[in-house]
Structures are given as C-alpha cells and as structure tokens.
Symmetry: C2
Subunit: 179 residues, 2 copies
DNA sequence: TTCTACATGTAATGAGTTACATGATTAC
DNA sequence: GTAATCATGTAACTCATTACATGTAGAA
C-alpha cells in the first residue's frame, strides 16, 4: 500500500504522467523508496479505479500519447489519514551487501575488502549526486514551502551515505588487522 | 533469492531447525534482512528439494517433532559463489516513516514532530538492545572466528541507529524553526 | 549506427504478508 | 485464566521484479 501513498504525495504537489512520476522517483524518492515503472503504471490504474486520482489523455503527434494524473479530494484525504494514523514502526532494511558482510568469516580478507571497496564507490557516487542535487534545489539551505519534505529526506540521504562510508572504512581496517 | 543465502549463511555455521533460524533472524540478521517464519519454512523446503540442505526429523514426546537442517557441500559452494559474484549495487531502502517525512509540508509542524518523536523511541530502543547484545557477545571487542560477520554488521546497526537519531534531532529543530 | 529520451503497458514469476491451524507446557 | 514458548506448516493474497513489446526523434 505504501507505493500508493508515495504517488499520492507527488501528485498532491503537481499533476503528472506515470513517466514523470517515475523520473521523480529516481531523483528524490529513491532515498527511501524505490519502484519500477511497471509497478507505477499498474498502481496508477488502480488508484483511478478507486477514485483517488483522475486522468486525462493527451494526444501527441511527435511522441506517444500521454496520460496526466491529478489527485482527487478523496485521494488527498486518504493521504493525510495515512500519514497521521499509520502506526510508526522500525523500518526493515534489505541490504544484500550487508547480508554478505554477515558471512565474511567464510571469505579471505582480501576478497571481503574488495567487495567493500566496490560498495564504497557506489555510495560515494550516490553521495556526490545527492549533494549536487541539494545545491541546485536548495541554494544556501533555502527551500520552498512544498519542498520541506525533500529538504529533510535528502539531508537524511546525505547523512546515511556518509555514515555508510565511514562504517565501511572502519570495517576495512578491521579486516586488515585480521590479515 | 537472497533469503535463501541468508539461510545458507546461518546453516553454514550450525545445523538448525526452521524455528531456530527464525530466532536467529530476529536476534541478529534483523539489521539488514527480515523474514517471516512462514517464508523461512517455505524456503527451507525448496532448498532441500534442490539439494542445498538436508533434513532429519526428530521425534519428541513433550514438544512437537522438529526438523533439523544441515547445509550440503553443494549449498556451501553456491553460497560462496553468490557472495563473490553477485554484482554490488546500491541498496534499496523502503522506509515508510521517511516516506511520510517527504510529505511533511502537508502536515502541521506539531504533528510532524510527534511522528519523529515516536520513531526516535523505536530507534532508541533498538540501539539499546543492539548495544547490549554486542556487550554480551563481544566483551571488550573480542569475537570468535566465525563471528566476524556479526561483529561487523552489528556495528553497522549501532551506527545506523545513532545516525538516524541524530538526523531526527536535526529534523525536529528544523521543524521548530518553521513553527 | 547505436544510444537515449519520450511514453505506456502486459505477462510471468518471485518474494513477502496475513490469517488460520494445531496443541502441550510453563510462567505470571 | 492469560500469555508466552516450543514447532511446523497451508492458503490466500498482495507486492515487486524481469522480460518482453511498440514506435518516433534526435544526438553522439
């Protein structure tokens, strides 16, 4: 059910096509939720059936036709209800590199370190991109009133990746000690 | 497919029943993977069919019978293969509190803060438990040779929750500024 | 000429969740 | 008498992933 609310949250800011929603997911929502385009299109269809959004099809000559979705009052109400009343719990990570780390005693230190190095590269890349995105969107820490959420979550993203990288360096040191 | 490797990783250390594997999940693996017991039992059956593990049923009089699973050579080979050759990518978070944070511009600051406070409680609790677990299992930072993985991942858990809490405090301050 | 952006989807499969079922024992 | 621990599972359902499909335009 959570994908639905992620989509409602984006639509509450602006009407958009499935394609655009997918772009926005990749750009921002990715710090804490991830969805495939196939899943987004499917969910949008269901949301329309249930009266949470409406769509208008726009004919285009050069490009394929597109469908613009708008949130309904009903959809917005449902979003607020969910935000306030869904019980808060501890989130469930699913990280398959960490899963491998938990079995590092079965691997020679060298190969374990190499896995961590590769993962560091990805996180370094992600960190750079997120920082750049923040600088573009929130120059000098300023943000519009409907950007508060993204301001807070992108800061989370930065901190998360930084803490990941520093843990990684620590773990590499531990592995080197062991030989 | 990852649940399967999580189970193989645990079985590679000790033979165990589905019930025990579920306990171990709750205790340690929970930092980066989560599974329901129903899923664990289903996966174990499949793993046996595919020759990655074998089981022996033990009759008990006072308690229900139990099935002890052992990893096979085949299973262990497959585990190593996966650890080394599965491409390293950036993990996909799914955190539904952060999803709500990303929509905080739709909520009065007071209610937003209250959600963060609730989440802080959960993370504080988790942090305490993990620290306690670490003290019990690794007194003065010492660990057995087949505990390296858990030593590294539980440190990750601690850092993750600490960084979560500190971000949370920062976010609460931001929200207070806005009123 | 190959790749990327545009734009939307179906079908099949795999993974995860919830509800239900059984039934004794022990601790509060 | 209420709940937790031990121990295993089925069935129904929802959610997520991968592969496939279509077709144009413009940039490298």
């Amino acid at each position: 059910m959570a994908l639905r609310y992620a989509l409602l949250g984006l639509l509450a800011k602006n009407e958009a096509t499935g394609y655009e929603l997918n772009q926005q997911f990749k750009e921002t929502v990715v710090h804490f939720w991830m969805a495939h385009h196939t899943q987004i299109y499917r969910e949008l269809l269901k949301m329309e059936e249930e009266g949470l959004a409406t769509s208008t099809t726009i004919q285009q000559s050069d490009y394929p036709d597109k469908k613009i979705y708008k949130i309904t009052d009903n959809g917005f109400q449902m979003l607020l209800e969910w935000m306030l009343n869904k019980p808060v719990t501890i989130p469930k990570l699913k990280d398959d590199l960490l899963l491998r780390v938990s079995m590092f005693h079965f691997l020679p230190a060298k190969q374990a370190i190499s896995l961590l190095e590769k993962s560091k590269e990805h996180h370094q890349m992600g960190l750079m991109m997120t920082k750049k995105w923040r600088e573009e969107h929130f120059p000098e820490g300023t943000y519009g009133q409907n950007e508060l959420g993204e301001y807070l979550t992108s800061e989370f993203g930065v901190r998360y990746m930084e803490s990941w990288l520093s843990w990684c360096d620590w773990a590499i040191e531990e592995l080197k000690k062991k030989g």
